[in-house]
Symmetry: C2
Subunit: 210 residues, 2 copies
């Protein structure tokens, strides 16, 4: 209930906390504080305490945060302890890089299928799975019931494919297709990755003093 | 001078404006307004006017914005009219996907070299360029003088390679290496792409109502 009113910017900071806590845990550090986190993450200590308080607050006055404990709580909040079946649609260079390079199980997902329209790509193996033809998608979804799809297809076909996937039971998209999907956001979750926006931001930073 | 005080969140909205204006231009639409932009982008009209006013303001009372004109101004602000020589370091799946899939010239960059340590990858062609050995990096940088590097290498080696690249004249990083680079941020620009953070955000959205 409480979680529904949490702002997008708070949510987007949680993965950063989680990532840094993982690093601390890896280095054998058992406790930390909002002051230490703030220095590393470039946020104020008060903002960090406020963010974590949105979810109940996990610190103790005079002690700070137990690294392993807080990490575990954040993992639970982020749903990383789940095993959400996921498919990749589009097995070109980017789809292949994602299949091979993303450790889905670390993020609460489980890669169950990869699909492409190209006959040359179908039958190849990526991320340990054989790429299947898009024509097999309906039967696959009816049987395996994946809930999340990674879209790595050209933007021209993204909307039509997204609609087909929604009809087949997909309710979450990790969208690399450079377009804003027109789907019912009240029931379908969309996380866009606009790599071009990131590169434009770098371009701005490089030229801003000219 | 003015631009130096512009907040990171304003800067991060500029690529979205640019992207949407490109879409409008593609659809033959000649003028728009902060009200139309606000509906599409999920921001308030007043915020959009404020953002654009940071750079001088380009609208006219009662007319709104000329699409092509505003797009051109934003391209200039974002440095997209530049031709910044860029190299990719790490030509595995992700480096390859970036070499093949990113239209660098649309973002003010120009891909001049791709490097990898693996003898199996060196000599292959990606994005129209032959992948070169890391051992050739110093001579290449001294001759061609690239200013920006895309880091697609494991996080374990990212810091050492980044330091080498800074010594070789690189002043901007597009960093896919899942680690926060420790470089002098007053002179070196870093734009991190944390794909894992994005996937965790999706995981949160999918499970938040449970």
């Amino acid at each position: 209930m409480e979680k529904e009113v949490i702002s997008d910017s708070v949510i987007r900071r949680l993965p950063r906390y989680y990532r840094y806590l993982s690093e601390l845990e890896y280095r054998g550090i058992e406790r930390t504080s909002s002051a230490v986190l703030s220095e590393k993450l470039g946020l104020t200590a008060s903002q960090i305490r406020q963010d974590l308080n949105c979810f109940g607050g996990f610190g103790h006055q005079g002690y700070g945060y137990n690294v392993a404990g807080l990490k575990k709580q954040l993992a639970k909040i982020l749903g990383l302890d789940k095993c959400n079946p996921l498919i990749i649609v589009g097995a070109g260079h980017l789809g292949g890089a994602i299949a091979e390079g993303i450790s889905f199980s670390s993020y609460g997902f489980y890669l169950v299928g990869i699909f492409d329209i190209s006959p040359e790509i179908c039958g190849t193996v990526l991320g340990g799975l054989t790429v299947q033809s898009m024509s097999g998608l309906p039967e696959f979804c009816n049987t395996i019931k994946p809930k999340t799809a990674v879209l790595c297809i050209p933007k021209e076909s993204a909307q039509a494919v997204a609609e087909q996937l929604v009809d087949l039971g997909i309710c979450g998209f990790w969208n690399f297709s450079h377009c804003d999907l027109d789907v019912d956001r009240s029931v379908i979750q969309v996380e866009n990755v606009h790599l071009g926006d990131s590169l434009m931001t770098l371009s701005y930073k490089l030229h801003k003093d000219e």
